[in-house]
Symmetry: C2
Subunit: 588 residues, 2 copies
């Protein structure tokens, strides 16, 4: 037997018992010829004492211990001497006077310190992830992920949802991101694709009458990695329901996030304990984002009409060419010249020529552009924004999409610079009524979002002569500036679905060809249905205050989509590729 | 709102209430101008009545209903007329007199009857799986899978195991079956591989100190499909523990299966409520299988010594050339000539020249070979097998591996022919002590099983001068003739692991090269550890009495590894392959 107890459970109640513990040598101290070892396992730390007076042979073995050795120790539990107890540890009242010591495995010196204070870079940590996992912070993320998985599955099961594992080997789909492909050995020249999401399968389950489906689904998209997007694989809390309307779905998602946070992250709170709602248009108008961070205000006011005839040619010109003028007020800051320059750089990086501003000082407003403003324009600013001494106003003028993008980016940069958001707070906001179509530069239409969504107004909405004004029953849920959920009420009317594809220049044949299973299925009694998918990892990242999504995986891919521990991807022998009917291309 | 209740919940307690139900038209009957519809959803069936006297407009809509239309019906709950109640249904006491009817979606005539009595073949069913799922039997399998998933995760979580989702994109590994590969877009010329099992990752988790890990893990092997092996993807209940011995692991696995069956399949029982144990050698000797079906006896007795000097040259010759003679007794059958021929065909298909037998009749034994047997030989048979009138004895003679294989196959064929096994019974048997090595025809050694297993006797066992006598601490669990679990205590001693690879002609460089992460990790304090993996789908198949594993997936692949509903795998445009740095090979 390797142990009678773990390293995290012995207390004063065990004093006098003989116990055996196994674990890692985390720390060693020598005091007056006595050796003290902190023995660590995932449950905790226990102080082991080796006194040559008591047991010389155990002491001799312990004297050979080095950091991260795996050892098995038998001894008697005793009270720590007065003044040496550690109330921060469960085991802080006791220590073990060791009678027998055995080395189960030695260890070389680790390439970095097994400590939350390690300064090792990501590559070294990921290459030796099996050591990185021994650090409390990483272990806690792994444990939290398990808890969140468990909570999520229990929640949906309790609510009557049926978990279905949909196929991981499926067919390539023309919509969305790029697919990962798998060459087929049995069918040379053909390829499976990994699912970007179980979208078609879950809709087919609704046709099959499953009624309420969920799955924590692995999803695969061949996209370049980002801080909030893990490469290769990620997980979705995927959900679909029949015979529901949008409001029913909102209720399920809202109940889930509220229960989840109360259940697994009680140290966090939901701002005002409510889920805000904005239409896509409102979110863009107010925050310049379809995933606004509403932990702080800093919203935009519109001044287009106020500056239509302005003496400031930049604003006047913007309005004259169909653009807008917007502004937002940052309260109570004193920005230096260089800070203003830094923020201006953010605006420029997002396509603006510059960033107009006004500083309100005790002596009154100050700005290089003030001289162009009329009294009425100043009054409009004061009425809508009510600036006080110490505040600043930032402007955006030009094409609507550009202005909202620029001010949206400036808003986020100001948040980070001035800590405008409370880190313990979670601000959830529905963003609804996404436009179904966008007009491309060449004047033709394309789907803005999910082609399978039902428009507001139902199937007849597609008769609208201005298609960009058709809004889908599609919605995202934003949290602290991240998109954490996306979903829609699906278009279950096959004729209307074909119409939607025709509007972007594709026809019934295309639907039949590319979405054959859905096309067939929708002819055999399809119920009204809708659903959503939460980004599991992204939600986890937010709940654990991680800035990089890679930290929430047990074995993450690097920023270059590599597994640096396993050396994936790797070169494969041509003989093995031959069996699969493929070869590596020569050309560059 | 699409419904106030589901089709499975209204009872006499609801009489008088106005309700709205939505569902599928499962059945329509007309009696004296009144229309009766069975409205179906996944929760049940409710009888809807349309009486033109009561509400003509609803009746008129209902008159257009056809099978599998999706409809929304509002009406009043009332008691069924006397004599028309159906105690088999939850809703059997009531019916709804319908006041409003709406068609939500029409349906073409389904290509097969939505009924458990359908005679549709697998291809038609799988092509229209969204319809197949509406059949109770398929729905029940999907629901059962969800229940089993849920039970399993709860069980392991309650027992202190941490769920970890290991990567699905990993590196190709040289051991085991063929890997599925994924060409990398970011690293042209390189490939990810899908994991055949999370074997290396779970061992690395143990090095990382996770202590007790589990996962219902998707696994991927490019093998040809079989009745008990789904193509492309399948699931394992994967588990690993540190600081354990083989017996600790057996306790966990045994508790799990006992609790699982009591929890999800209470109609089944475990034979003698115990888990049998056989060494690999015993299982081969007694049943000719490393996954014996022990729901019935029909074991082999050895007669090698008894026939060493036999007058029957076939037996004598087999023993003289180092082979064996084995026999088993089938009780109380009367096999016809053609039945004996059929069983002989089984023996021949497994490599035997024929199948020797004796029939014990009331008048005494009868067989073409009796004339060659001595009195002592007949006595040996009677002593060991104690045949009675009505029994039969079957013989195998020749090389050990062939005899056990042939008699093992005959034993299974006899089980199927004579229903020797109780279908409600589950007979679990550990098969332990697998040989570590096998000798190939050219005299060199190869791994028989998992190279990462610890041998019995520990690392020094590799010093045994006869390597085929080294037995691993590796074990399978058989149930009703299927292998449902495989596992081992791992070899955590890096030097011994290298030694094992050297014995099969591979060296330290090979271990370093092919299993680099393990090679590195095992130098930094690796705990003793071991584990197992249950075949989730195979266990489910057994619990649901399915003969084909395809039936336990929501969306199965066909026997040709195709998704006939989605048309996977499919041809991909060369432009998309170019991005991935590959092309389809021209040569055949």
């Amino acid at each position: 037997m390797h142990r009678t107890h773990t390293c995290g459970e012995l207390t004063a109640a065990h004093i006098g018992q003989e116990v055996t513990l196994s674990g890692w040598v985390a720390n060693r101290r020598d005091h007056g010829g006595i050796i003290f070892i902190d023995l660590r396992d995932r449950y905790g730390i226990t102080q082991m004492v080796f006194d040559p007076q008591d047991n010389e042979s155990a002491w001799k073995v312990a004297d050979t211990f080095r950091s991260e050795y795996v050892v098995k120790l038998t001894g008697k539990v005793r009270h720590r001497p007065d003044g040496q107890t550690n109330p921060a540890l469960v085991t802080g009242e006791i220590e073990i006077i060791t009678l027998n010591a055995e080395i189960l495995a030695e260890s070389k010196t680790p390439p970095f310190e097994i400590s939350d204070h390690t300064t090792a870079n990501e590559e070294i940590r990921f290459k030796h992830r099996y050591l990185d996992i021994r650090r409390t912070k990483v272990l806690e993320n792994i444990k939290f992920r398990a808890i969140m998985n468990h909570f999520t599955r229990n929640w949906f099961t309790t609510q009557g949802f049926t978990e279905v594992q949909t196929p991981i080997f499926t067919v390539s789909s023309p919509e969305g991101a790029r697919d990962f492909l798998i060459p087929s050995r049995l069918h040379n020249g053909k390829f499976y694709a990994l699912p970007q999401a179980p979208q078609q399968y879950k809709q087919l389950l609704m046709v099959g009458g499953i009624d309420k489906y969920f799955q924590i689904a692995p999803c695969f998209r061949d996209e370049d990695p980002r801080a909030d997007r893990h490469s290769c694989e990620f997980y979705q809390i995927d959900c679909e329901m029949s015979f529901v309307e949008q409001e029913d779905i909102f209720q399920v998602a809202e109940s889930f996030v509220k229960d989840l946070i109360a259940g697994v992250s009680p140290e966090k709170h939901i701002r005002e304990n409510k889920i805000y709602r904005f239409t896509h248009k409102e979110a863009k108008n107010l925050y310049g984002s379809d995933k606004p961070d509403v932990r702080f205000d800093l919203h935009f006011e519109d001044f287009t009409e106020d500056f239509r005839n302005s003496g400031f040619s930049v604003f006047q010109g913007a309005v004259a060419t169909g653009g807008v003028v917007k502004a937002m007020k940052l309260e109570n800051v004193a920005m230096s010249r260089s800070e203003i320059d830094a923020i201006t750089t953010v605006a420029q990086a997002n396509g603006a020529k510059g960033l107009a501003y006004i500083i309100y000082e005790a002596e009154g407003p100050r700005s290089p552009i003030l001289k162009f403003f009329s009294e009425a324009e100043m009054k409009a600013l004061e009425e809508k924004l009510q600036p006080k001494a110490g505040d600043m106003i930032f402007f955006g003028a030009g094409e609507y999409a550009l202005v909202t993008k620029v001010l949206g980016a400036v808003r986020v940069a100001l948040r980070d610079k001035y800590n405008l958001a409370d880190k313990s707070e979670l601000a959830f906001a529905w963003v609804t009524d996404f436009p179904m179509f966008e007009r491309k530069d060449d004047g033709t239409l394309d789907f803005e979002h999910n082609p399978f969504s039902m428009p507001h107004g139902g199937a007849t909405a597609f008769d609208n002569p201005e298609p960009t004004e058709i809004h889908g029953m599609q919605y995202d849920l934003a949290c602290n500036g991240y998109e954490v959920l996306s979903g829609s009420i699906r278009n279950h009317d096959l004729k209307a679905l074909v119409k939607a594809f025709e509007m972007v220049g594709k026809g019934e044949e295309e639907v039949k060809d590319k979405f054959g299973a859905m096309y067939n299925a929708f002819q055999f009694g399809v119920p009204p249905h809708g659903g959503f998918a939460f980004g599991f990892d992204r939600l986890l990242m937010i709940l654990k205050d991680e800035d990089n999504i890679r930290e929430v995986y047990a074995f993450p891919k690097s920023g270059k989509a590599e597994d640096v521990m396993m050396n994936a991807p790797s070169v494969i022998d041509d003989a093995d590729l031959k069996v699969l009917g493929i070869e590596v291309r020569d050309e560059v």
